[in-house]
């Protein structure tokens, strides 16, 4: 069988690993427009300020012998421009054609473009790949005051790193708090304090209307009318799935490429996984793209097993994040703010715990600030729709752990008899 993968990142690499665990014979080709081996996107902000370099192993997602070891034909630096589902071929930007029996779309997302005038000015950056990171890194010598647009995961991280590098940073966020979808007001306050301590100027409830300058950006104009002098801008308002290839090929797309429970698109020979895919969210109970690394990995594996004909269902995922800004670490997952769900929360001595539970006693989401080590136990409960009625009283204990569970259940779990 000929398996071809578009994209060479988290979803692709996990697909390759799953394929090679089961099948040493099929040919596997991976095509990416980026001319490097797979790397760690979360380290891009570190790369910008030189905390990590491209010569270090820790920057990469797998070791350099990965492709050779897994017998993968890595076609790097080439863009896939077209999929022909009828003839089962893809076309590359050098007019080369590659045939497939099964095709995996693992082409991720691209930075969302907000409606802001002046995005084409010099000194305006995005940060979702090495190219963007290199451009920003080289431009740092020209930047004294940087405006970061959007305080999501990438924006907050970039703001932190630039401030650490002694760049003057203003972080502008439309919502009333940073990291809006992954923290509540109380949790976000921890991060607000850290950012301020690092010297970041935080502007909430406002957004950027236009960037002014003749050649290079000189000024940022906010919706409130406020004007900020700036010689650098990082736009980080989110990512949107790269659906164009799939759309042009006539596959069913919505916000992302629509897949069934087996990560298969509307064409039975084509699968999709990772940031590009619109897969099942177990917390919301509907399909939507969730652009996070652990899910890209799981979906990559699942899609690969199904390409090999193994019938493995994707059980669904939900948003989850582990972030450290300054000295504050937090892990949050699922729904983090709600008026309808039962809420248990606790705050003391720099620790914050919050749990959101529905009327059927199923955990729907949680936040842990600073005391995070047991976070994965809650992850398991959300994923498995575990009945928490008899254990939830212990959730707020800082020393939450196995000792609070019912013995029979604990023994079965620890013996790996219940997955």
């Amino acid at each position: 069988m000929k398996i071809v993968i578009v994209g060479n990142s988290v979803a692709a690499i996990n697909a390759i690993e799953a394929i090679r665990e089961k099948d040493k014979i099929s040919s596997v080709a991976v095509v990416s427009d980026e001319n490097y081996r797979a790397y760690s996107h979360p380290l891009l902000p570190n790369l910008v300020i030189g905390e990590v370099s491209r010569s270090e192993d820790r920057f990469y997602y797998r070791r350099s012998d990965f492709y050779q070891k897994n017998k993968v034909n890595a076609i790097l630096g080439k863009r896939v421009v077209k999929i022909n589902p009828k003839s089962k071929t893809i076309e590359l930007d050098n007019t080369e054609k590659v045939e497939y029996d099964k095709l995996l779309l693992a082409c991720g997302g691209k930075p969302a473009k907000p409606p802001i005038d002046g995005l084409e000015l010099e000194g305006v950056h995005t940060l979702t790949n090495i190219k963007g990171a290199d451009k920003l890194r080289k431009d740092l010598k020209n930047i004294n005051h940087c405006v970061v647009v959007g305080a999501g995961l990438i924006g907050s991280k970039v703001a932190e790193k630039l401030a650490k590098k002694k760049v003057k940073v203003t972080l502008v966020e439309l919502a009333r708090r940073v990291l809006f979808p992954v923290l509540d007001d109380k949790g976000a306050d921890f991060i607000h304090k850290e950012l301020k301590r690092l010297g970041v100027n935080l502007i909430l409830n406002d957004s950027v209307k236009a960037l002014d300058g003749s050649n290079r950006v000189e000024q940022v104009v906010l919706n409130s009318g406020k004007r900020i002098k700036a010689d650098g801008v990082v736009v980080a308002v989110g990512v949107s799935p790269n659906i164009d290839l799939a759309k042009d090929a006539g596959l069913k797309v919505d916000k992302g490429v629509v897949v069934n429970d087996y990560m298969q698109t509307s064409d039975e020979s084509i699968y999709a996984a990772g940031d590009v895919a619109q897969a099942y969210d177990v917390v919301y109970g509907s399909k939507r793209p969730i652009p996070i690394l652990p899910l890209a990995a799981r979906q990559g594996r699942t899609s690969a097993l199904n390409m090999l004909g193994m019938d493995v269902k994707y059980k669904g995922g939900f948003p989850m994040n582990s972030i450290t800004i300054g000295k504050t670490s937090f892990i949050s997952m699922g729904i983090v703010d709600s008026d309808e769900l039962e809420i248990l929360s606790f705050e003391r001595d720099g620790e914050y715990r919050k749990f959101l539970i529905d009327e059927d006693n199923r955990l729907k989401g949680m936040i842990l600030v600073n005391n995070v080590e047991k976070a994965g136990m809650f992850n398991w409960m959300i994923q498995n729709k575990f009945d928490v009625s008899w254990i939830k009283d212990a959730f707020l204990n800082s020393d939450f752990g196995w000792k609070y569970f019912n013995k029979a259940f604990r023994v079965l779990r620890l013996d790996r008899k219940i997955k």
């Binding site: 905390e51 994965g376 997955k419």
Partner: protein, 146 residues
């Protein structure tokens, strides 16, 4: 594959497994030096107590290891023996593995200068029998095929 079986009925909350783990993961593997002179390692097993329950918990070496899936740069990986271990040279302390581990058995070591270090049971690569199992005086931890 063999893992450490936890027999909580035999556990008497003596913490000897933790002591043995600390010594095994120390530079000198000498108990006095490990506790008093060198940087003391963090125990990979944790003894929990909630009267009358007490038990030592450590990595279950899952076959579908969610921690490996969640790791951002391959630091958390399966070694040649089939056990799940961290590459300390590349770990960046992002705690994504902690977010994913369904057993809550990964700890944070934040003492390194530039990167945090994810710390978990490595199934004692230098030993036949893991140190905790050998140290437990009453077989509350045993080595078994699961």
């Amino acid at each position: 594959m063999k893992i450490v079986k936890i027999r909580e009925d035999n556990c008497i909350f003596c913490h000897l497994c933790e002591v043995a783990c600390i010594v095994e993961h120390s530079q000198s593997k000498d108990i006095i030096k490990a506790f008093k002179r060198e940087e003391k390692p963090i125990a990979r097993c944790s003894v929990e107590f909630n009267y009358p329950v007490s038990l030592s918990v450590m990595c279950r070496h899952c076959d579908d290891a969610p921690c490996v899936e969640a790791c951002q740069n391959g630091s958390m990986h399966r070694d040649d023996r089939g056990y799940v271990v961290v590459d300390a040279d590349t770990c960046v302390g992002c705690w994504m593995c902690i977010m994913a581990c369904p057993y809550g058995v990964i700890k944070r070591d934040t003492r390194r200068e530039s990167w945090g270090l994810s710390t978990k049971c490595d199934f004692c690569p230098d030993r036949e029998i893991p140190a905790c199992v050998e140290a437990c005086p009453n077989e509350a931890l045993t080595l078994e095929e699961i």
